[in-house]
């Protein structure tokens, strides 16, 4: 794909358009697969937030809403900024791709930094499940289930963020070498799909981890 709009000799495609459409469809299929990956987590949440409602809600109340809400705002903005890169890519404007890409990646890193701070605080407060778990009482078990879920879900989402930031930086590097043109910008588009998907997952995790059951 490094040689831009031309098809290389081994390519199984008729035309560049055919190839690009195929790549985008392939990405959507991969995202469908990813949706099922997070689907398993959502199932856990759906069940325990009903069968262990008390402990679950107690866990929700102990999350840091300020950081969570700030992170949501950051991620919304990051996704919007990267979508600008996609638009710039469509026009073949490599400079804007670089600028928007770096902006989106920086916001992503901010998200991770805040998340890391939140984790650190939670570790200090002994909210990581285990024998020294901070919460006691009849609902402590459910709260531990919540925090197992919380740490795994945020870890998995964080890993997706790391991969996404890596992909964005890769796009920026290519764009600096003026790799994209109005005729060929599929990688920018595909990374955009992935980044928006990571954003989308957070839009569902945020209410599940911070809001529902809080009041």
């Amino acid at each position: 794909m490094s040689d831009g709009s031309a098809l290389d000799h081994h390519s199984p495609y008729e035309t560049p358009l055919h190839r690009d459409e195929t790549a985008i469809a392939g990405m959507w299929l991969f995202l469908a697969s990813e949706a099922l990956l997070f689907g398993g987590l959502f199932l856990i949440c759906l069940i325990y937030s009903h069968t262990r409602a008390g402990g679950w809600a107690e866990g929700v109340r102990h999350t840091n809403l300020a950081i969570g809400a700030a992170n949501t705002l950051i991620l919304i903005t990051s996704s919007a900024v990267y979508t600008m890169a996609v638009e710039a890519g469509k026009r073949g404007d490599n400079r804007r791709v670089v600028r928007a890409g770096f902006g989106a990646a920086a916001l992503g890193l901010t998200f991770l930094a805040l998340k890391g701070g939140e984790w650190g605080q939670e570790f200090r407060e002994n909210l990581f499940p285990g024998p020294h778990f901070a919460l006691h009482g009849p609902d402590a078990g459910g709260a531990q289930l919540f925090y197992s879920f919380y740490f795994l879900a945020t870890f998995l989402h964080g890993m997706h963020m790391v991969v996404g930031i890596g992909l964005i930086l890769w796009i920026c590097r290519k764009a600096r070498h003026r790799a994209f043109s109005a005729a060929w910008n599929t990688p920018v588009d595909i990374v955009g799909l992935y980044w928006s998907f990571v954003d989308l997952v957070w839009m569902l995790l945020f209410p599940l981890l911070y809001l529902i059951g809080r009041a």
């Binding site: 459409e21 985008i24 469809a25 990405m27 959507w28 299929l29 995202l31 469908a32 697969s33 949706a35 099922l36 689907g39 398993g40 959502f42 199932l43 759906l46 069940i47 009903h50 069968t51 809400a69 949501t72 705002l73 919304i76 903005t77 996704s79 919007a80 979508t83 600008m84 638009e87 955009g192 799909l193 928006s196 998907f197 954003d199 989308l200 839009m203 569902l204 945020f206 209410p207 911070y210 809001l211 529902i212 059951g213 809080r214 009041a215």
Partner: protein, 96 residues
């Protein structure tokens, strides 16, 4: 550019509404708003309607199977009657 700004604005408003709904204790309200946010992202940022038709099929397929997972996966837990064992009861009740 205007599209992106509009979507961003909508998402921020929805986030604010979500926080208000959470304060009021309306779990359903929060859920509806979250789904709206997802829709804004899928339609506005990912532009699914302008993707190849195949992409729409794949997305709907993923959604369908996700529904199966959630519906049938939770069927058992929501229809089960569980008799929990309390730690004190483990050695066995002496009088029945």
């Amino acid at each position: 550019m205007a599209r992106i700004a509009a979507c961003w604005g909508m998402l921020v408003l929805l986030l604010a509404a979500e926080l208000v709904a959470a304060r009021m204790g309306s779990g359903i309200g929060v859920g509806v708003l979250a789904v709206l946010m997802v829709l804004v992202i899928v339609l506005g940022f990912m532009q699914i309607l302008r993707a190849p038709p195949l992409a729409i099929i794949f997305a709907l397929g993923g959604l369908f199977w996700l529904t199966i997972l959630l519906a049938l996966g939770s069927l058992d837990s929501f229809t089960r009657t569980t008799v929990p064992v309390h730690a004190a009861a483990l050695p066995g009740p002496t009088a029945e």
